[in-house]
Amino acid sequence: MTFLTNLDDTTLKAGAVPTFALSQRGRAGMQLLGAVQKYSSGVLRPMAAEAFEADKRGKELAAQHAAAEPGTSARERINAAREVCERDNVYRLERFIQRWVAEENFNRGIPAIEERREKFEAFNAAQGETELLGTLDLAAEVSVPKYYDQVEWHLEPGGWDGYDLYGALFAYGVGPYVFSHGGYAAVGVGDDITKQRVNTIKQFPKASYARIYEPGCGGVSTLKAVNAVFPEAELHGSDLSPLLLKNGQKMASRFGFPVHLKLADAAHDTGEADESFDGVITYALHHELPPKANREMFREMFRIMKPGADIVLSDPPPFRAVSMFHAVILDWDTEHREEPFFSAVLHDSLDAMLKEAGFENVESYAIGQDQYPWVTRAMKPASAPQAEAA
């Protein structure tokens, strides 16, 4: 769940307003964050990994972690491995830089956008004159879940709706200048998250889909990728954030594809009809929900999917699928980049949750470096009675 973070103007529809640009100061400040993060994750982190693997205790823990029956819990191993890592100056420096960049994305990014507010609002107004495609339904009275309220995801001040120009900040600052280098959270160094989304969509097993749904669709980054792979599909999505949805419809319209977006808590009630979708996609969503809410969401997805429909999920890999050192790196996000459910979900199993909800043919695998993106896919049984979803 995020704002749109990569505006490729070469795919804009004819006549669309061209991309809005930061000032020299704003641009250079954000670009430095990207350069420092790239150095940190590309040079310092491999050095720290090498030191961990050369350490006697580190070796023992890595061997335990890779064993079929480790004899200790993943939590115990990660805690012990973190102690080994934290003895290393380079590890601590790398983690400091990761934290600093995560803070500065907003400390430096918000002023970079704010100083261009007048220009952005003019750009936004010009964009608003173009026809909005699809539908936007914000009418539902949705109770914000306790787990979602008050969380400043990824250190974002005020949470997803905390600043009216967060859409611009991600589209014109953090996205192109910082995220584009990869090397943060589960994203591998140098990885392009836009290509990763498209590669994930390609994991749908059928050649064509009539109607695809995305819970937690945010600013339509993923639906844009769905449109690239399945241009024939009618796209629907929901989110808890009105700001993300409004931005999402504008952005989709700018690129010339219609989306049907609805304010909803997809873990409880999407407001969609039974057996009405051929496919469901989620991207980087489940680690932002507590395991209980994930289970509820899968039951709701099962209800709205047609028999034989496919579900494809992409989320950070489970701890069991990555190296001991990388498990420490992923676990770090929970406490240091405001991801309260990150570790709980990575300890759990999305495969098991899907099976519990009634899905079959459940499988999970990596399609990129460091086991990311980690894809889990499954199918609703072709003859599934709807009662199984209960």
Binding site: S23, Q24, G29, Q31, L32, Y39, L93
Partner: protein
């Protein structure tokens, strides 16, 4: 032969004279991270000025003159964008890599941090 500092219990390990304590340690060891934040804020400001200098030189070479508004609005592209990216990466490498420069000091490593390749074997 002793130093005045030795008499006061302030002798340095190297035998040289050391300064007397300047008073309370206001920041304390727990503030090292905050000092690093201050340093990185300064690093950002230095880079923004360096980027502006490169853009200024480019506009002067291209147009013969430059205004503040042209600088503020300028978005580098093509060769200039590539040149700035290379300079920014070198800058980030020298700053964030400074701690490891204390221990990784071979000629190739020093040249690599500076964005250069070794041309000949060290004598």
């Amino acid at each position: 032969m002793g130093h005045a500092g030795d008499e006061a219990g302030l002798g340095s390990p190297g035998g040289g004279r050391v300064m007397e304590p300047t008073g309370k340690d206001y920041l304390g060891p727990d503030s090292v991270t905050d000092v690093a934040r201050m340093l990185m804020a300064l690093v950002s400001e230095v880079w923004i000025m360096r980027d502006r200098q490169i853009v200024t030189e480019h506009l002067l070479e291209t147009n013969g003159s430059v205004t503040r508004e042209e600088l503020d609005e300028f978005v580098p592209s093509g060769d200039l964008a590539a040149q700035i990216t290379a300079e920014r990466d070198r800058f980030a490498r020298l700053v964030a890599g400074a701690p490891i420069a204390a221990v990784r000091r071979s000629v190739p490593e020093i040249l690599e941090r500076a964005g250069l390749k070794a041309q000949a074997a060290a004598n």
